[in-house]
Point group: C2
Chain length 219, copies 2
Amino acid sequence: MKKAVILLSGGLDSATILYDAKRKGFTPYCLIFEYGQRHCKEIEQAKMIARRARCHYQAMKISLPWHGSSLLDKKMSLPRQGKIDTKKIPSTYVPARNIIFLSFAVSYAEAIGARAVFIGANAIDYSGYPDCRPEFFKAYQKMLAKGSKTGVEGKMVRVHTPLVRKTKAQIIKMGLKLKVPYHLTWSCYQGGRKPCGKCDSCLLRARGFDAAGMKDPVI
Amino acid sequence: MKKAVILLSGGLDSATILYDAKRKGFTPYCLIFEYGQRHCKEIEQAKMIARRARCHYQAMKISLPWHGSSLLDKKMSLPRQGKIDTKKIPSTYVPARNIIFLSFAVSYAEAIGARAVFIGANAIDYSGYPDCRPEFFKAYQKMLAKGSKTGVEGKMVRVHTPLVRKTKAQIIKMGLKLKVPYHLTWSCYQGGRKPCGKCDSCLLRARGFDAAGMKDPVI
């Protein structure tokens, strides 16, 4: 069976792509990153989701001691305006996060002979991160063609971004059809006992469930 | 003063770019990776070189548990043909290594406000790794323009590859002018007490010192 490396964060989007990859006939190999994020709660949720989907997972601990993000640095406060301005990159941007995650995923894929990497990035209902946009993934793929063994040898690892142009509501509807266990997902950046309801991630999630006409099972 | 992140491996090339960056007026911030390499000896040498150059350094431990390389997997044997075939990518290729290293370097650079990353890659006297060639770095830079905050905001981190088109002899001659402490550098993949003299890395180094008409201070 064809293998795929899945970047699994424990959030709604990445849980959806895991089930999407399964539906497409891939055997998923999940990568879960602990990178010093405030909401480290998502890591345990990601593991639960992987176990629920009965697939391999690999938890990776990486250190970004330079921070440069309110998602890593607890001395910085999270933006809480209650509205999201996608024209400005918010302080929760983690420098080169998706570039780093994808690079580990490609390494893993090359080593196990997988030709696919799935990432749940989304450039519609999102926070304005540059590393979530289609033009980034296109450039990343071109870079792989030049700088990876499989790229040079014509058996390139392909980065799949099935959600990149979907609205959050479309993602949720797709996931419900795939029976994604959304009650296990975690989105809130605060990582408290309950979602804060105010951070960008909570707002995007709430907006998505509203537009899909569904109740969020986590709340 | 302008800052630069330097990927410092402890080898001859990366020591040379550290001194080159200093000469060019940069304040170096070295990144040293422990990634499970056989020749972990190079890590201590890298730290010595950074201290000798009186600059900041950050040692990073990353895990690549999937191996996929004879440089990581001690059950695999290193190629020892005594000659290097740059047409074939050797088993010492580490999947996506430079892509991962550069990605951490860019993250560090963005967080500290550095606009430069230096990497000592070389595509002349090298082992045929795809992630050491100019076309890779060109594509990597284009990817940064699309996927990083500084890229999108027009203050992009630039990847400097001052050695990429130089012969090993030219690198050594350049380094001697810069007073690079080559006696502190380590190249051998085996990482024993003394260099093995047979691995690709030893061969390239010996060939370089020969062509430069110099004696290798490590031997």
